[in-house]
């Protein structure tokens, strides 16, 4: 990695730390805006707000953003397609179905719902990979895409049926709110549930990023360079999906971050996964902390995080496609 790239990564890390620090003090207590740091010494409520409420939420946003950004970069490289996002193998819709199912069974918005979302995200991923092996159409990448689309559609139908049968007063609002995506439910308990899977997933992706590079080449080339494309791709997808499933379970469906962030990362440090995967993680974390801070600060009532991320993400994405900085081949 050149010193120029290293400097950019350092600057980005500095910005990331500064933004996280600022977000801790930004909010609507005691008034909209920044909380003066000395208030932590004198005001027990300020301490509770900062350390009990904002800190787990910001750390959660960091993990979820890093997971979506890193998984997005890994997915795009191993599928050699910059239009792929981490939810496309059915992971997001599977998780949303799991959460909706748990809520209609009376679990409400809590750890049990998060667990159900996680389990169904992995089930969706598993079905997608099994279906991809059974399909007799297209190459390995196309088969996975088709399997992912089919599985997502089935789980979306499941969500629709659950919503249709849900109690419109007690259950439907919870389900709808959850599928919009948000971090207001994140506290230290849900953070502890989220952290292990995401951290394992991030570490695996960081360790395997040189293999991710090889898989971005044609399979025949990757094989001639010593890779086992099918097996390695499956392992990397499972590693990435582990973090994404835990993230979706904690925050609901936050789309666009995993699609857009890797494009920005590649514009900053180039395509090579050695730099683009870790930078996608940092940028994803930064992006989510900013979007969440905006979602919880701008108005007295919270905006859904999924909406702020999608709106901002779509603007960036359109900008990239219009600028011609992205090539789409497969």
């Amino acid at each position: 990695m050149g010193s120029n790239k290293a400097l950019r990564i350092l600057l980005l890390l500095g910005l990331f730390v500064a933004v996280c620090g600022a977000a801790l003090f930004l909010g609507r207590y005691p008034a909209p805006g920044f909380l003066p740091p000395f208030a932590l010494r004198d005001d027990p409520i300020a301490r509770a707000v900062v350390f009990g409420s904002r800190m787990p939420r910001i750390l959660g946003a960091v993990l979820i953003g890093a997971s979506l950004g890193g998984a997005g970069a890994a997915f795009q490289l191993v599928f050699a397609n910059p239009l792929v996002e981490p939810g496309f193998l059915g992971v997001s819709q599977g998780a949303a179905f799991g959460a909706a199912l748990s809520m209609i069974l009376g679990a409400g918005l809590g750890p049990l719902t998060a667990l159900s979302a996680f389990v169904f995200a992995l089930i969706a991923l598993l079905i997608s990979s099994i279906l991809a092996r059974k399909f007799r159409y297209g190459g390995s990448v196309l088969r996975l895409v088709l399997a992912g689309i089919s599985v997502s559609a089935v789980f979306s139908a499941g969500i629709a049926i659950i919503k249709y049968t849900a109690d419109p007063l007690s259950q439907l609002p919870d389900i709808t709110y959850w599928t919009l995506g948000g971090l207001s439910g994140l506290n230290w308990t849900s953070f502890r549930l989220l952290a292990p899977s995401v951290i394992v997933s991030l570490l695996l992706l960081l360790l395997l990023r040189r293999r991710i590079d090889l898989l971005s080449l044609d399979d025949e080339v990757a094989r001639s360079l010593g890779a086992r494309p099918e097996a390695e791709r499956a392992f990397i997808l499972a590693s990435a999906a582990l973090g994404v499933a835990a993230s979706v379970a904690a925050s609901g469906v936050v789309s666009w971050a995993g699609l857009v962030v890797p494009h920005v990362a590649r514009a900053i440090v180039g395509a090579d996964a050695r730099a683009s995967v870790p930078v996608s993680m940092i940028l994803g974390a930064l992006f989510l902390v900013v979007c969440d801070a905006a979602a919880r600060t701008m108005f007295a009532g919270e905006l859904p995080l999924g909406a702020t991320v999608s709106a901002l993400g779509a603007f960036v994405f359109v900008g990239f496609l219009a600028s011609g900085r992205t090539r789409i081949i497969r």
Binding site: S224, L225, R228
Partner: protein
């Protein structure tokens, strides 16, 4: 020294009514360049697939040194055989240097970063192909000819003892074809064996030490190019009459 050997190898695709490659044998020594020519569908790509280990022979053996190619792990195969497929899609704008560095993956643990030795080998491979000036350029911005030279540099950086090249001059202009020819000779002289398929008979005659002419999976000739490219043999292989005429050729190709 014998580098690569096919002993009466055959291969048949699942739905085919005949063998795509039928009892073909050849020996390649260190420093030798062998071309495979033949009509479309004559079995060139299948033969290259058997040499690269992508396909496993139905009968006969394909060996690199003493090792049977089909039994080698992908990692060990990458250490011995470098492959240049005919076409390749590159979806992301890696720098040429990073692109060539991918060839070094088999030299280190899956988790290790490329070291000084890898960077040296990658830069020296780019120099061998005369494209060191492209090192920092994104591969997606190269012309077809430049990309082909950078892909060949990746094969060189792999430091394998056998290079399997599928139509390395397809769609290249005369200048880039002769650059590829020069590079292939330099590669062979550095102690590698080269097996390449081509439709460009002038290029084949200019670059190769041996030529294998295939027709419907069978060898109709395996000899020095001057003898293998006999007009009668070529007519049999391609199904059209041939005639020798002098066409303009880059000087580089003529000076074997």
């Amino acid at each position: 020294m014998n580098a690569f050997r096919l002993a009466s190898v055959s291969y048949r695709y699942r739905v085919a009514d005949r063998c795509a490659v039928d009892e073909v044998s050849l020996n390649l020594s260190v420093g030798m360049i062998e071309v495979v020519v033949g009509a479309n569908g004559s079995g060139k790509s299948t033969l290259l697939g058997l040499a690269s280990g992508r396909l496993r022979p139905a009968s006969g053996t394909a060996r690199i040194g003493e090792a049977e190619i089909a039994r080698l792990s992908p990692f060990n195969r990458a250490a011995r055989i470098a492959v240049l497929p005919q076409a390749e899609r590159v979806a992301f704008d890696f720098s040429c240097l990073d692109f060539v560095l991918f060839a070094r993956a088999h030299k280190r643990s899956p988790f290790a970063a490329p070291g000084a030795e890898d960077f040296r080998a990658a830069r020296s491979a780019l120099e061998t192909l005369g494209v060191e000036a492209l090192a920092e350029r994104p591969v997606t911005e190269l012309s077809g000819g430049e990309l082909q030279l950078v892909r060949l540099a990746r094969c060189v950086a792999q430091e394998a003892s056998l290079l399997v090249l599928d139509e390395p001059t397809a769609m290249l202009d005369p200048a880039h074809s002769s650059a590829v020819a020069r590079a292939v000779r330099v590669i062979a002289e550095s102690g590698k064996a080269v097996l390449l398929a081509t439709h460009d008979l002038a290029f084949a005659a200019a670059v190769a030490d041996r030529a294998l002419v295939l027709r419907q999976g069978r060898a109709v000739a395996e000899d020095e190019p001057s003898r293998a490219f006999d007009l009668g043999i070529l007519e049999k292989a391609f199904g059209v009459a041939f005639e020798s005429r002098l066409a303009p050729m880059p000087v580089n190709l003529l000076n074997k």
